[in-house]
Symmetry: C2
Subunit: 309 residues, 2 copies
Amino acid sequence: MKTFPSLPKSVEIVEVCPRDGFQSVKEFIPTETKIAIIDELAGTGIKTMEVTSFVSPKAIPQMADAAEVMAAFRAKWKGRVTSVALIPNLRGAEGALAAEADWMNFVVSASEDHNMANTKRTVEESLAEMEKVAGLRGSTKLRVSVATAFACPFAGPVDPGKVLRVVDRALEAGADGITLADTIGTADPKYLAATLSVIREKYGDYPFTLHLHDTYGMALANMLTALGMGFASFDAAAGGLGGCPFAPGAAGNAATEDMVNMAEQMGVDTGIDLLKVLAAVRKMQSAYGLKIASHLASTKKGLEGNCPS
Amino acid sequence: MKTFPSLPKSVEIVEVCPRDGFQSVKEFIPTETKIAIIDELAGTGIKTMEVTSFVSPKAIPQMADAAEVMAAFRAKWKGRVTSVALIPNLRGAEGALAAEADWMNFVVSASEDHNMANTKRTVEESLAEMEKVAGLRGSTKLRVSVATAFACPFAGPVDPGKVLRVVDRALEAGADGITLADTIGTADPKYLAATLSVIREKYGDYPFTLHLHDTYGMALANMLTALGMGFASFDAAAGGLGGCPFAPGAAGNAATEDMVNMAEQMGVDTGIDLLKVLAAVRKMQSAYGLKIASHLASTKKGLEGNCPS
């Protein structure tokens, strides 16, 4: 880039720590602790939060209290912060619908290998399941997350054609939003840009959300690349928690505080109060013993006086 | 960037862990340990290493063995890996010349406040000292590092005019190379690009080296931005060690392994064997107890099968 690309004026950050972050914690986090952290995070200015996932408690015991967590969230934040529940199948949808989540986020992988590891289904079986979910959702919004949209931990690079296949079917089924996920964080900016170019060419300005992991430190470089291409919605997890239990090598999500810091310094509005996120993250660490992996929360001096813009 | 920028075919990575990394370690690292780690790193394919610094042992006790370390390096690697010694003043230059380093790296800050904290001199006094060093260097090469070229921990954003002032004087004094340092890692890609544009406008294609810290996780995003503007030389520290003792808030350097990984995935040749760097870093951690801060060295699964390109 001989000249720096023009960036969106504002971006949406979706807080996914309570789902993607918590699911990576081995010891069960007591339900009251989950709710306390969620309340802190919901007050940072974010507009949308992935609150929990309705999955088999055998597969992911950490999410066994999904209904209770969602009920507590709705009691306090309904109408102020949009709630999302991740679901991998019809059974999950039933749970999410019963809990009255604002959105369901149906996850299906572009890669056969990862979809099988994640859901014990072929991609085609998951897509058929997605269509059933779309049919019974009523007024609940449906997001479809394309996992391993860039690379798969088992199969390596993922052909963009496989991503288009899932996106096409999601749009045909009437999805209200689509997320493209770098599930294991191996996409480099050049590779990411190549797939996103294919996506742009086919779907124009459709407002995709990107879900980036920071396994190899490339999350912010990838965010920058996507911003420069006009993408303006990103998942992020406070504290950089996260990782896929069925994707070997996956590490934490891009940290909310790192993303907000870079975006705001560049004049891209997030609507999020960075100091409130940092306070929540430090509490997650000190009061609840969660292992924090963000850059910002690791600095000793905080932000005062250090920001060049 | 609507289209991804074209990147250089290859980049130079300068290994600065033995200087910038070690100086951030509080407990004295025994000289034999330093030499053992340096030998490991010198065998990774790098062409240039900042081996030590000739500074007041009162100010930085960790570097008290500079002469011994440089002698050991030259005995083994002379003619194969170029040796650099950092110096802050004339006295340091005398030490570096006596030790027969291939290059001296004279550091002066663009920001008055940081220069005073770092060297107890005004910028003008440091520039005059630099000119004296240039006069007595003989066949030894002289690099000038512009510290706080983007932001200062005390004064905030640094006016590019202050950077040009130092660069002008360095070139007039006959410097053989110039490094621009984001000493505290607060530069965001947009801010970095703005200063680098001013630099490009004045000095054309002069091959500056960039020295980036990863305090806020923006090192790779900044590297990507600089690569896209044609900059092709970067300092990096194995394990992400580093930090300026006189810059509050500074954290580790961009990690060699993280930079090499991203560059090589994007098809930018570094000449460095990533697995050898990782082996050295894991040994720095397990055998010598150094605290590692890189992304790559924190992954459990290594790299096999995870790279999309």
